[in-house]
């Protein structure tokens, strides 16, 4: 699904350089649930940004369905993001001028219009447990609720891939558990997930886990001992196929 080769990002400052991501290889197969760990500043967000075509790599390639996205037009990459990739930011990333429901519907503006989007948005809000706040504005939500809304928004166009940057950061353990259960369910339904986290306790949720250190993937721990080990054998349904 996504194949990353020699991916490098160097930020040039006036008098020094930061190698945020350094020669990373990564292979994301459909149906996988990939976890990326690493200390703050090791380049996780930068890596995710490059996967989604939001950050231009200094070196290396990102291939989506075998196509190097550097060779796609900006519109095509935007289309890819709109239809194939759901993105959950490290911060909530909700637009403050829109209600919860409108935030969830926002990505439908970038797809061909479907009259069922409204119903689907309500379903998703119910699924993430914030349906009762549909008409609230983001600043009135708790950070856990914001994260849930952001997840609902990432799923509205039925993406095949969900990229989540610390979706459970600064959440209490119970809320984190609920969100992880939701991710697990989505993954079972066929959504491929790439997720960044600091919390080693989450290892069991992933089908693959990687550790990053100073821009490099340095370790590839054994596949987690979580009960749903054999995810690759489940059929590669995407949530889009389900709608």
């Amino acid at each position: 699904m996504i194949n990353v080769d020699g991916l490098t990002k160097t930020f040039r400052m006036d008098n020094y350089e930061i190698s945020a991501v350094d020669d990373v290889q990564l292979n994301v197969q459909p149906g996988e649930f990939i976890l990326i760990f690493g200390r703050s500043g090791c380049g996780k967000s930068t890596l995710l940004g490059m996967l989604a075509g939001l950050i231009r790599p200094t070196k290396g390639v990102v291939r989506v369905h075998g196509v190097d996205i550097a060779h796609l037009s900006d519109d095509d990459v935007s289309g890819l993001r709109a239809k194939e990739i759901g993105f959950v930011f490290q911060f909530s990333g909700l637009l403050s001028t829109l209600t919860v429901l409108e935030n969830v519907l926002l990505p439908t503006l970038f797809c061909t219009y479907s009259p069922s989007s409204g119903l689907r948005a309500l379903e998703l809000l119910e699924k993430v447990g914030v349906l009762d706040r549909a008409d609230a504005y983001p600043h009135t939500l708790s950070s856990g609720e914001m994260k849930r809304v952001a997840i609902a928004r990432a799923l509205i166009n039925g993406p095949a891939l969900l990229i989540a940057d610390e979706p459970t950061g600064d959440l209490d353990v119970d809320t984190e558990f609920e969100i992880m259960e939701l991710f697990r369910q989505l993954n079972h339904e066929g959504t491929t997930i790439v997720m960044v986290t600091h919390n080693p306790d989450l290892v069991p949720y992933g089908t693959q886990s990687y550790y990053m250190e100073r821009g490099k993937i340095v370790g590839k721990p054994k596949t987690s001992s979580c009960e749903n080990l054999d995810l690759k054998s489940v059929s590669h349904l995407t949530t889009r196929d389900l709608t």
């Binding site: 967000s45 940004g49 989604a52 939001l54 950050i55 231009r56 900006d74 519109d75 935007s78 289309g79 890819l80 993001r81 709109a82 239809k83 990739i85 993105f87 930011f89 490290q90 911060f91 909530s92 990333g93 909700l94 637009l95 403050s96 001028t97 829109l98 429901l101 409108e102 519907l105 926002l106 990505p107 439908t108 503006l109 970038f110 797809c111 219009y113 009259p115 069922s116 989007s117 409204g118 119903l119 948005a121 309500l122 549909a134 928004r153 166009n157």
Partner: protein, 403 residues
């Protein structure tokens, strides 16, 4: 929820505009000021111009011929109605009517009246020759049944008297038989009578009036000329000046220039104000839009991450800016139009310009162009955020801060 919710581009625009009141009100205000100044100066200028046109067409003339030394006074009669008297040989008049291209020529005698009992200010008396006149004739034609008989006068709209009243000039009694439509010009302060009656009035003034009035025989003050259709008034005018020495011609255009000269102070103030406002507002809007650009980088990055194309974001920024420009423009035009109409008399008095309210079409055109100016400025002020956005990498600004 009964109806499934839906979301579209203009909803997003409306939300963005509606939920950022402070910034948007400041922006709308800047646009309103630009549109208001631009609209007001155009409105005042065209009102003054329309007033001139009306004054000249009231005279019904293509050319006004006056004695050389009195060109300024001639303009004053038409523009302000400040009473004056001046004369030139009637024989000149005969020559004028024979010049090729002249369709009609009509002599007039201008008589400055003293302070009349009727009126707050001295009145300009204009004596006409009914046989050759076309100034009052046109008006008489529009008002069938009316005629200018012995000792009758037709008065300008600024003279507050009714039809049927008697007015005294140089001890001579005149009857008001008609009131002309407002022109905003000198004609509004004039009374029209016949040559005969003026001569009689002058004759009697020795006994009846405080000061004797002398109207030299065989002399007139001005000759109004109508040219043949298709003939250039300018050509005829220079022919008149060549053939009748000692005369000066005034053309409507020339009159306009004279007025612009006279009004140049006001004109300069108005255009200067528009320019100053625009010069001040554009950087102001620039600063606002730079702030906006900065503030919105994150929002724009979020949109991009969710799949918005560059074209979508540019469209969003432009439509929002144009919406603010249109709102501000309409408010500015609406408010200034209301003020200009409500306080018209006061403003005209203050600016001392001839004025009538421009036609609705003219007002609409002026409103439209003021609105267009706001829209253009709106487009220009949106350029900065758009350029900033196009240059930046979508994700760069996302990392910025927590939300």
């Amino acid at each position: 929820m009964s109806k499934p919710p839906d979301f579209h581009f203009f909803r997003l625009v409306a939300r963005n505009l509606g939920n950022r009141p402070y910034r948007n009100i400041a922006t709308i205000f800047a646009f309103a000021i630009i549109a208001a100044t631009f609209f007001s100066s155009q409105y005042l200028m065209s009102g003054a111009q329309q007033s001139l046109d009306a004054g000249i067409s009231r005279m019904g003339a293509d050319i006004l011929v006056v004695p050389e030394d009195y060109a300024g006074a001639g303009q004053t009669v038409i523009l302000a109605g400040t009473p004056t008297s001046f004369f030139f040989e009637d024989s000149g008049f005969e020559k004028i009517s024979r010049i090729p291209g002249v369709a009609k020529a009509s002599p007039q005698i201008y008589i400055a009246t003293l302070f009349a009992s009727c009126c707050a200010a001295p009145v300009q008396m204009i004596a006409i020759d009914p046989k050759r006149d076309f100034t009052i004739a046109a008006w008489l034609k529009e008002n069938p049944g009316l005629r200018l008989g012995k000792d009758d006068i037709i008065i300008g709209s600024a003279i507050i008297q009714n039809v049927g009243n008697d007015l005294l000039f140089y001890g001579h009694t005149f009857h008001v038989v008609g009131v002309l439509k407002q022109t905003g010009m000198g004609v509004d302060n004039a009374v029209f009578t016949r040559f005969e009656d003026a001569y009689v009035m002058a004759e009697e003034s020795g006994q009846k009036a405080v000061k004797k009035l002398i109207i030299p025989e065989e002399k007139v003050s001005a000759v109004l000329v109508k040219v043949n259709p298709g003939t250039s008034p300018a050509v005829v005018a220079s022919e008149i000046m060549a053939q009748v020495p000692g005369t000066k011609t005034i053309l409507p255009n020339g009159l306009l220039n004279a007025v612009s000269g006279q009004l140049s102070a006001i004109t300069r103030i108005l255009y200067g104000a528009s320019l100053a406002v625009t010069i001040v507002s554009v950087p102001l809007l620039g600063v606002i839009s730079a702030m906006v650009a900065h503030e919105r980088r994150k929002e724009v990055s979020i949109l991009r991450a969710l799949g918005a194309t560059k074209a979508f974001v540019v469209r969003l920024l432009l439509v929002e800016s144009f919406s603010l420009a249109i709102m501000g423009g309409c408010i500015g035009i609406g408010v200034s139009a209301t003020i200009l109409v409500l306080y018209q008399d006061f403003i005209m008095h203050l600016l001392k310009i001839p004025f009538i309210i421009p036609s609705l079409t003219t007002i609409l055109v002026q409103g439209g162009s003021a609105l267009l100016l706001s829209i253009v400025v709106g487009g220009v002020s949106a350029l900065y955020p758009v350029i900033i956005f196009i240059r930046s990498e979508p994700y760069e600004s996302i990392r910025g801060g927590e939300s």
